[in-house]
């Protein structure tokens, strides 16, 4: 591992909502302001800014990070925007890490924002052009196609039922009921509710999917010597990893996310983790769809291939289970403002490891957790391991 240790010392987030009155800049500012306040720092204490935000078309602003910059505290500072689609939120934390680990900066403010309600008639339309313009677009594809084909491949390889997968949606929406910033928390939701929701593209049904959301999240990251000064409870970045599979989704193994495994291996190596099932105490894998949480848990090597659904059914991934998964409520419950949702997962691990997660707090004083996101053309994995 290069350079000095890097810590997360502060975090903040807006409420995740369906339609924010705030401008995207105002959302970014609110999250950034809260993150700074959480560690009693001011913008003058920050050396550099990392901005994470997904497709420009969502907010309807081309060159969105330039537009967002003043809301992210970027006035008069070195700034970078990273972009790996849905993987952006966790990747932004990775960028924050290497800004500090490189020795260039002592303190970095990482801000992720998305305002999807701007995009009409539906943010789906902004994804139309990710499909190949000659072989796929004439078929009038919908983004859900990829997920439906992937989910069906996953279910069939391991003989899984819809019921096996719906438990994830139920768990996360119930967990989110304890999150003050959540949009879709529901303590009473049942598997039957998921199974009875409208079919969008079989096997994907309405309640298998996370919602269109507006929101922002920010982290303050710092070098070791600053972290020691500003907090007595720094949370250390122990490992980071990211990896890209082929851009052709027709040439990928849709039932197993090998790019997540490669990203996890990179992060585990850096963190010195040889037995992730023993050494990871809490996980926030990316869950824009319920099957993706299971898919990713297997890619992260936290369960054998095809075994995550059984573990979920046995309660292992519940907040009080052996491996709490998405105790925040995840994208399915808290909401999915794309880049902000990924960074929310890193923030959740930060709060959990500090014992600051309130009603969401997992028992047993977890010492190490991971956050993972997925995106680009559905072929990038981004992983951050945090520990205390």
């Amino acid at each position: 591992m290069i350079g000095d240790r890097v810590a997360v010392v502060g975090a903040g987030m807006t409420k995740f909502v369906r339609r924010a009155q705030e401008t995207p800049k105002e959302l970014a500012w609110e999250a950034a302001h809260l993150a700074l306040r959480s560690c009693e720092m001011t913008i003058d204490d920050i050396d550099a800014i990392v901005i994470g935000t997904a497709p420009d078309a969502f907010d309807g602003v081309h060159m969105k990070s330039e537009y967002l910059s003043d809301g992210c505290g970027a006035w008069g500072k070195p700034v970078i925007r990273g972009y790996v689609g849905g993987g952006t939120g966790v990747f932004a934390a990775i960028q924050g890490w290497y800004h500090v680990a490189s020795g260039l900066f002592d303190t970095v403010l990482v801000v992720c924002e998305e305002k999807m309600s701007s995009c009409r008639p539906h943010p789906q339309a902004a994804f139309l052009t990710i499909f190949d313009h000659t072989t796929e677009r004439p078929l009038k594809p919908n983004l859900l196609w990829i997920f439906a084909l992937e989910m069906n491949a996953y279910m069939n390889r391991y003989g899984l039922s819809k019921r096996d997968i719906a438990t994830v949606s139920v768990k996360n929406k119930r967990n989110a009921a304890d999150h003050p910033a959540a949009m879709l928390g529901d303590p009473d939701i049942t598997v039957e509710d998921v199974l009875n929701s409208p079919v969008l593209a079989w096997p994907v049904q309405r309640l298998d999917v996370s919602p269109v959301t507006d929101g922002a999240v920010a982290l303050v990251m710092s070098a070791n010597h600053v972290a020691r000064r500003v907090t007595d409870r720094p949370v250390w970045v122990e490992g980071v990893g990211w990896n890209l599979d082929t851009a052709y989704w027709t040439n990928r193994d849709l039932a197993y996310p090998v790019y997540v495994e490669e990203a996890a291996r990179m992060a585990y190596d850096m963190a010195g983790i040889s037995e992730p099932r023993k050494q990871i105490h809490i996980a926030e894998p990316y869950d824009p769809f319920d099957y993706k949480e299971l898919h990713h848990l297997e890619g992260l090597m936290l369960f054998d291939r095809g075994e995550a659904p059984r573990a979920a059914a046995d309660g292992v991934t519940q907040r009080d289970g052996d491996l709490p998964v998405c105790p925040s409520g995840g994208l399915l419950g808290v909401g999915n403002p794309i880049a902000a949702a990924g960074l929310m997962k890193v923030a959740e691990i930060f709060w959990q490891l500090r014992g600051e997660a309130g009603a969401r707090q997992v028992p047993g004083n977890p010492k190490r957790g991971l956050a993972q996101a997925w995106g680009d053309l559905m072929q990038v994995g981004t992983v951050v391991v945090l520990g205390v």
Binding site: T23, E26, L36, G60, A125, L128, T134
Partner: protein, 157 residues
Amino acid sequence: MSLLHRIEHPDDALNWHGDMPTEGRYTAGIAGERFFREIKEKGQFLATVCLDCDITYMPPRLYCEECFSHLDEWVEVGSWGHVHTFTVVHRDLDNEPLSEPRILAFVTLDDADGGLVHYLDEIEPEDVYLGMRVEAVFRAEDERQGSISDIEYFRPV
């Protein structure tokens, strides 16, 4: 290069057309909502002030860009100022000639830092000069929508 450099017409190669069928629905935001409602209801400008940085933000902002603090000090600012710079626009977005050239000016307001880019009217292009005193002309109250177009244009004082 292959065939492409010999293509004289776009249809000489197989090609497809497509668009990204989205439109944006934007909000004015927390600070912007108050700014535009004031224009709509009273025909005047509001600004926010950062007392620490001595900056009067017009249009108003929710936070100070420089010190990042929340701004809740609101002041009324006059709708007059001077031409900081200007241009005379002869073509529209599709490169079609305008029936009449229009003057576009960056107007610095007397009571604020920064200002607005807007049209200038009631004057001929050859008579405009930098530093010229101008004021905003608001539409009639019943025509105002709460948007930047509630200012019809700026004109010489």
